[in-house]
């Protein structure tokens, strides 16, 4: 045991770590392991045929594609929003700052029916977009809109504190040496916030690929076109295909693991980088 933990005079380690592990096992790990164990009921070849059929592949393409684009849009506009919140003064700033977290606190089903009502052909936005030939609700674009909505807070909230901490001296020095604002931003500010920006992007992406509630209302759910992977799991489940549902779930779980690992690496990179500066 002494190998496992460094000595400390503070009390409560055994109690705290014991409870943590017990709770985590009961609520998260044992149930999750059920997915992996159930998937072993399939042989490797059966597993592969389930997870790489065309319909499933198309759902990955949509889920990951739409999530990626949504996370990218959120990275760009999230940075912009964080920038104006930190750097500029304007009326209503406090309220806007508070409302950024709304997609996080708003139930996804509510987001789903609201966005559908807005973007359907007879909705507030839809009635202007449809004459232009842009259909949002019930197309992959709808999926993208829903995922952009739910991922909105992440980039803003990871970039904002880093931006607040940047010392103005560096920027002043750059300006005195003749750098333009754009040069200063590209050479000095952007590299500093890059790890946070990428962390925010990865968080928004991770959140988006698993999203279900808001997407099913707006997607249209056409096989091979607007059917997301989590919906496919539900569809399999409703056809009593437990093994098939579990197989796809395992693919998504492994993806989640990898993404989290990347996020943790990015955060570590960010800490190191900021420590060096």
């Amino acid at each position: 045991m002494s190998q496992f933990k460094q000595h400390s005079v503070l009390p409560g380690f055994n109690l705290a770590i014991g409870f943590t592990l017990l709770y985590l096992s009961l609520v998260v790990l044992i149930p999750l392991s059920a997915a992996f164990i159930r998937a072993t009921e399939l042989t490797w070849s059966e597993f592969w045929t389930v997870v790489i059929t065309l319909r499933v592949l198309d759902s990955y393409r949509l889920t990951f594609g739409a999530s990626f684009i949504a996370a990218l849009i959120n990275a760009i506009f999230g940075l912009l929003v964080a920038w104006i919140l930190v750097r500029y003064q304007f009326t209503g700033k406090k309220i806007i700052d508070a409302l950024i977290d709304l997609p996080f606190a708003l139930p996804t089903a509510v987001a789903g029916i609201t966005l559908t009502a807005l973007y359907a052909g007879n909705g507030w936005f839809g009635q202007f977009l449809e004459p232009l030939g842009i259909k949002v609700a019930y197309t992959p674009i709808g999926v993208f809109v829903a995922l952009t909505f739910i991922g909105l807070p992440f980039v803003v909230r990871t970039v904002q504190p880093v931006l607040e901490d940047i010392e103005t001296e560096l920027e002043e020095a750059a300006a005195m040496l003749g750098a333009s604002r754009l040069q200063t931003f590209v050479r000095i500010i952007f590299p500093t916030i890059l790890p946070a920006l990428m962390t925010g992007f990865a968080l928004a992406f991770a959140r988006a690929i698993g999203e279900y509630g808001s997407v099913i209302f707006i997607a249209g759910n056409m096989p091979m076109v607007s059917e997301i992977t989590p919906l496919l799991i539900i569809t399999k489940l409703e056809q009593y295909d437990y093994a098939g549902a579990t197989a796809i779930a395992v693919v998504m779980l492994v993806t989640s693991f990898v993404l989290l690992l990347i996020i943790n690496l990015l955060q570590w990179w960010g800490r190191r980088r900021n420590a060096l500066i």
Binding site: T53, L54, R55, T116, A120, G121, N122, A137, Y138, I216, G220, N221, M222, P223, M224, L231, I234, T235, L237, E238, Q239, Y240, D241, G244
Partner: protein, 332 residues
Amino acid sequence: MKLQTWFTVLFIITSLSIVGPARADKTLLNVSYDPTREFFQEFNVAFSKYWSANGGEKITIQQSHGGSGKQARSVIDGLAADVVTLALAGDIDAIAEHGKLLPENWQTRLPKNSSPYTSTIVFLVRKGNPKGIKDWHDLANGCVAVITPNPKTSGGARWNYLAAWEFGKHYFGETRVQEFVSDIYKNVPVLDSGARGSTTTFVERGIGDVLIAWENEAYLALKEYGNDKFEIIVPSVSVLAEPPVAIIDKVVDKKGTRVIAEAYLNYLYSEEAQHIAAKHYFRPSDETIAAQYAQQFTKVKLFKISDTFGNWKNIHQIHFSDGGIFDQIYLK
């Protein structure tokens, strides 16, 4: 310390809420599919009255509604339904097969194939029928947008699919029927997971030119939204949809609710219930009562699934299983 009191309050709320939900009355859970919501709301009141008038104990009837396949899956996974009233026999077969919760011959236990009411599949179009839709073959026309749910998850959608298939078989011949059905599904812009979802898409979101719907669902939409917005088109041939009901033996025997559950299902065949069914646009299975509503339901040539397609297990295997004919439509 304020936080300490805060913790205490939370703790008390927690323990209260654990003790809280305890019910004294006998409950009966009816797990049903989407379009029966309004019907059972009224029927449950009628049954409760009948039951207490005949000296039965006080009873609470609980309802659960959703796509038929999803509901069957929940029952198989342990949702303690006393009775199921689903969209098609195939879903109750699945409960018998995968869950072993009732005997395989369940459908012979109640009159009329265990279907106290029947329905059929009709078209709902926008007022004036701008696309001139008259029959099934018009749905395969490339410029018509068709709304129907996903037959892999929705019971109603399977009836839609099979009705179209049967029509195509006679109109185009065996060799071209698959192509015909494919053409219809290529015109579907939104494939909802349940019948109700499709109706919402069509009537509320304004998507599509025609909704293939349960007859009762189409009439309900007319009632909710008015005759001036939609009209019903009855095709030349359609399917006799028999939504079956059954007692879940394992559950009622454990809960001791068999007597009530049997009375509940039998009451669906009573005169009062048959009238309520007709009021909600289900076709009564009792011929004399059905005759009273003859002008409400358009006469249409109906075929029976058992006469043309055989049993549901085969149908599922050929058409709706993974890699089946329905999947092939989307592979091209």
